[in-house]
């Protein structure tokens, strides 16, 4: 196992090198720069700014400089927020995005899991059709439509929750439901399918014949088998949720990485865009490694090599 982990870690380096290089050149060869504004800057001011950020050097030298800095974990200064470094901004935003992502994941599993189990147990009942219609709606409603609707109903209409912002647990509810719904819908469909597969098998009949309560049959005997597809889906789903809060952060004015990312994309803030990409790449590489290790523990059929 240790050998496997070390080999995977060593494999990160070429992957990161490719990502950093590709991103750097894609970013720099595209037209438009961080200091292009509607009104052109005076020549001298522009030259000074470019010298300050080494933008006047040849591209290959800037590339080598950037590689060197990234290798030391320094993602450079942000062009958009001149007194902040990219590292600082990511440090501020990541805990927020992570909290939001984890809450959304919890919503997805709780909501989707429950709906899927109920629908699977009462196949072709009204409840089944209802939850599956909701699930189909859930994968078709974009979160930028759902978010404002929830905001209108629960914040502006009923005054139960704050409209936007970040700070208390009450601020987290609407964004995490908005973010989690799509995945809840998917989890519901997977759980239902898994449930249908398992519930007709002989060991369930045996469990019932033993005289177990229905709750015990479902939760202890059927569920572990039924959620296997969900567990397989959980890896990519968590990765998507934890990094996918960009739109939701924009709607609810949440100070997470996503908002900085969009802001920097619109301003062509080279270092911030590259820094965020590098940060997410490292995060995802480690995340996927952990997921693979966990799979090996959860499912004895999976062997890590």
């Amino acid at each position: 196992m240790l050998g496997y982990i070390l080999r995977r870690l060593a494999g990160f380096l070429p992957v990161l090198f490719v990502i950093v290089s590709l991103s750097f050149f894609m970013m720099r060869l595209a037209p438009g720069g961080p200091f292009d504004q509607e009104r052109a800057l005076p020549e001298q001011v522009r030259a000074n700014i470019e010298a300050r950020y080494h933008l006047d050097e040849p591209l290959w030298r800037q590339y080598l400089r950037y590689l060197g800095e990234v290798a030391q974990g320094d993602l450079g200064p942000s062009f958009r927020y001149p007194d902040r470094s990219v590292n600082e901004l990511l440090g501020l935003g990541f805990p927020v995005s992570l909290t939001l992502g984890l809450c959304a994941l919890a919503v997805a599993l709780a909501l989707g899991g429950t709906a899927g189990i109920l629908a699977g147990l009462r196949r072709n009942s009204f409840l089944d059709y209802l939850t599956m219609s909701f699930a189909l709606g859930g994968v078709s409603v974009p979160n930028f439509v759902l978010g404002p609707i929830l905001m209108l109903v629960f914040a502006l209409g009923l005054h139960w929750l704050p409209v936007a912002g970040w700070g208390t647990w009450r601020h987290i509810v609407l964004p995490s439901v908005t973010l989690g719904t799509f995945y809840a819908a998917y989890v519901a469909r997977l759980t239902r399918a898994g449930m249908l597969e398992v519930i007709g098998q002989d060991f369930i009949r045996t469990a019932r014949a033993k005289g177990l309560r229905e709750a015990a049959v479902v939760l202890r005997h059927a569920l572990p088998g039924a959620i296997l597809p969900v567990i397989t889906y959980l890896g990519p789903a968590s990765a998507a949720i934890l990094t996918g809060s960009v739109v939701v952060e924009t709607i609810f004015s949440i100070p997470g990485i996503g908002r900085y990312f969009v802001g920097s994309a619109l301003n062509r803030d080279y270092t911030m865009v590259l820094g965020t990409v590098v940060f997410y790449s490292v995060f995802l590489l480690f995340f996927n490694l952990i997921v693979d290790i966990l799979y090996a523990y959860l499912d004895p059929r999976v062997q890590v090599r």
């Binding site: 894609m26 960009v246 924009t250 790449s281 995802l284």
Partner: protein, 303 residues
């Protein structure tokens, strides 16, 4: 579910096979698809939106640059403006009709691009093998490590916002899926007898790939494609919403939402509701057909 098979059905089996003989597997799948009420609903939605996209530029010429009417800002739905007007006094129905071309165009166009490039890379990797295969799949694995939404935003962030760039970004996201599915199919197919036979008859590599292997990789790609269009429409709208996709005044549904969601919460629901409904319905249509298509093409997966 294990069930005992009644004897009568076993006797009828050959008869059923005889009636089916006249149909190709594709026809059979098509009939199964049409027999599904949900799928018919989805097909109707897709046809309606496609007609909107194709016909509105012809029947209702529209110039988004001169449509603003500042005297009619944020007017609720009425006879003159059935869907109301937006913050610049533009007719929302008109913009939605013309937005169909932009949004569906982005969805279908990016998937088509991804399918062509992805299948090509998959064919190449699967047939060439060796170092080519290794290199290509290494790149595909890197792309696959990123969740789709993040990857699309990151690509647009790097190459710059805009309609064309968002199309590129969304299609890059789907390329690895096509490449991997096609490669897998090619690896299985190239060991089959009919490929060996074609090679034995002196067929060139290109001919074998295009005429013998490629057609057989299509069925598994069909389902993928329908669902991918639904996803691409969503992604395109998300990019538009963030201001990274289509730029104003292009009538793109996501960008329309971004313009109007501030007013949505202050009472002007129509400017937000109708573009939102257009996105939802079109995505729903492709999702319904995609799901039904999966059931029709592969009845084993039926749930």
């Amino acid at each position: 579910m294990p069930q005992s098979i009644p004897v009568s059905s076993m006797i009828e089996f050959p008869a059923a096979a005889v009636t089916l003989r006249g149909r190709s597997p594709l026809e059979a799948a098509w009939h199964r698809l049409l027999a599904n009420r949900v799928a018919r609903g989805g097909l109707v939605i897709i046809v309606v939106f496609t007609l909107m996209a194709v016909l509105s530029p012809v029947l209702l010429p529209y110039n988004p640059k001169v449509d603003a009417d500042l005297l009619a800002r944020l007017k609720p739905p009425s006879w003159i403006h059935p869907f109301g007007t937006d913050a610049l006094g533009r007719d929302i129905l008109m913009r939605i009709l013309h937005g169909a071309r932009v949004s569906l165009g982005l969805g279908v166009g990016s998937v088509a691009l991804a399918a062509v490039v992805g299948s090509f890379l998959g064919l190449l990797a699967g047939y060439a093998g060796g170092r080519t295969d290794l290199c290509l799949m290494f790149c595909m694995d890197i792309l696959l490590a990123f969740p789709a939404t993040l990857l699309a935003i990151a690509i647009v962030a790097m190459i710059g916002p805009g309609l064309r760039n968002s199309l590129i970004a969304i299609s890059v996201v789907s390329i690895p899926f096509y490449a991997r599915i096609t490669r897998g199919e090619v690896l299985a197919l190239k060991e089959r007898e009919f490929v060996t036979a074609a090679r034995g008859l002196g067929g060139s590599a290109r001919r074998i790939l295009l005429w013998h292997i490629f057609p057989n990789t299509l069925p598994p790609l069909t389902v993928q494609t329908t669902l991918a269009v639904a996803f691409a429409i969503l992604e395109a709208a998300a990019l538009g919403f963030l201001g990274l996709g289509a730029q104003p005044p292009t009538p793109e549904w996501g960008a329309m939402l971004a313009d109007s969601y501030k007013f949505f919460t202050s009472g002007a629901w129509w400017a937000f509701f109708f573009p939102g409904a257009a996105i939802m319905l079109s995505v729903l249509g492709f999702n319904l057909v995609g799901d039904a298509l999966r059931d029709a093409l592969d009845p084993r997966l039926r749930t």
